[in-house]
Symmetry: C2
Subunit: 337 residues, 2 copies
């Protein structure tokens, strides 16, 4: 019973198959020039022994761990979950492993520790999901020896970052309101430290300017309470505002709640459009019109770029992701003031 159950190695397989260990290695890595006959002999030997290649030995000799790190903000919001799944799947598809480290994006120490941790396992590349500007610099300062891809950061090089389509999404959200006939449209923005905020503001502004309308932006963050607060104080009558583009669904929810309490009907008096399409958005009161970004695809693309960097293959330059307009009940023709 105390028999040592050493896992089978390449030599065990070789012996059983009647070949050299190198031939086994060749089969594993499907190299050229192997007789079909030998290949199958080796394969059935592997099968029989339940052989699993030893990743450590492989990593040691090739100096490649086949692991990519994901540095992710532990601020839980709606997108990342699906994104992580997509990233993991894409990595696996390319024969890579994904290993994540959660960090507090506001704490440089935490970032450094996360990176240190990932370094120890020997990552070949790093994908960073952080929505805050400071962290990008922190990461860039700390990581210089392996490729890094930033998700949703305003990096110059498209090669080094993957973007959600904030600008285009915001533009289209605004255009939706304009196309309904709204003239006075305000934007409640996300927090300025988050990357997603600025392009949403620009997309809104550009759409307004193109339609010769006056943009007006209120500073917010991503939270329901903030939306509620802004909604409580927003001046609507004198300025004849008939529509609001909220930088995310939570803000929109807070706004709707406050405005209805103040007696403004939605969408009869005020139209509201959000951004993100959180699962609950369809069941808000009223169901929220919003922009649905493709988080999963974003994750996939980011990982694809990462693997492209690592293997030095040409990155398939994908088109910009564009959020989809989901029209529900919170937007309608403008009220007659």
């Amino acid at each position: 019973m105390t028999e040592k159950v050493r896992k089978p190695n390449i030599y065990d397989v070789a012996k059983l198959a009647g070949v050299s260990h190198q031939t086994v290695s060749r089969v594993i890595n499907n190299a050229d020039y192997i007789k079909e006959d030998t290949r199958s002999k080796v394969q059935s030997a592997m099968q029989e022994l339940g052989y699993v290649p030893n990743a450590a030995a492989r990593a040691l000799v090739t100096a490649k761990s086949k692991i990519v790190g994901i540095l992710v903000s532990d601020i839980v919001y709606h997108g990342p979950a699906g994104m992580m799944h997509a990233m993991e799947k894409e990595a696996r598809r390319g024969g890579y492993f994904a290993i994540s480290a959660s960090v507090d994006p506001l704490d440089n120490d935490s970032i450094a520790q996360g990176i240190e941790h990932l370094r120890r396992v020997g990552i070949e590349g790093l994908v960073v999901i952080t929505p805050q500007s400071d962290s990008v610099q922190a990461v860039e300062r700390l990581v210089k020896d392996i490729p890094v891809v930033f998700i949703d950061s305003p990096h110059n090089s498209t090669e080094l970052s993957a973007e959600l389509g904030n600008y285009e999404g915001a533009k289209r959200a605004t255009e939706h309101l304009i196309s309904l006939g709204h003239k006075k449209i305000v934007h409640v923005a996300g927090p300025s430290e988050w990357f997603d905020s600025a392009p949403r503001v620009s997309g809104y502004s550009d759409a307004m300017k193109s339609a010769k309308l006056e943009p007006k932006v209120f500073a917010g963050d991503w939270s329901v309470p903030t939306g509620y607060e802004i909604g409580k104080n927003l001046e609507l009558d004198q300025s004849k505002v008939t529509a609001i583009f909220a930088a995310n669904d939570h803000l929109a929810l807070g706004l709707m709640r406050a405005l209805r309490q103040r007696g403004y009907d939605i969408p009869q008096r005020v139209s509201i459009i959000g951004f993100d399409d959180v699962p609950e958005a369809a069941f808000y009161e009223p169901p929220l019109t919003t922009m649905r970004p493709d988080f999963a695809e974003l994750g996939r693309v980011a990982m694809e770029k990462m693997l492209g960097h690592i293997t030095r293959e040409a990155t398939l330059s994908s088109d910009e992701l564009i959020p989809e307009l989901i029209v529900r009940e919170s937007t309608a023709l403008p009220a007659n003031l």
Copy 2:
């Protein structure tokens, strides 16, 4: 420029510090019997060279990867995100790495592939987050050589699983309604293939029976539309139902929406309590009373048990997790029928 930039190894450090490589190894693993003087010499040498231990070499010789796998359902619902963060953090705290594989819990092939993938990297243990019964058996069949911890599955051994507190949470939710004075309380359950459903039903039933009340359960799933459908058809007047315990917040949201459309005021005519406390619950119409499980703590505990198994240390037997009652506006005294 073409100079090879080999990473420093233990010998480089040894040379610089003027000791043998083994002494360096001892410092890294802080073994006994090292002069304080030598230790610091070695440490500054490591610092100077930017030495990072090679995980692969280490894993090869010790036959321990320091990696645990997480097999996670790619059905994205509210809990797992925070849970994953917590698991990763707990793993890191113990010097371990966490690496996840997303799988479709309904597809045994997908599960097998996920496990195969994790096996390749050499995981020392596996944490399984799947809410469906079938997958547990599939996993148990496939993994026999390393410890497995199931999250939220009805496993006999508490050592092998970590539970959310579904039973106790459901009991307390029901007791909350009872304590308000409700007599006719129905439960809209989750899907039977999910583990969380059954204990929530039992918790509800037991609370009802203790209060000498008649339990009545409607079969549902976790979705808003299903809650809405059930809400549209639920008979309330003849049976004098005044309160509903929904198995999760999404069902509750759907229910509330349908009931209000039918003219039933909440909470004046019907009280509703949910389960999960999704971030939006506080801003539903009306804000939802619900049970808040501690997902993060669940993840932490699960990982703690995992590491306990691996290192053969005694698992700190933690108390059962109990969801917290969050009272908002959707529950009140029963209506006078």
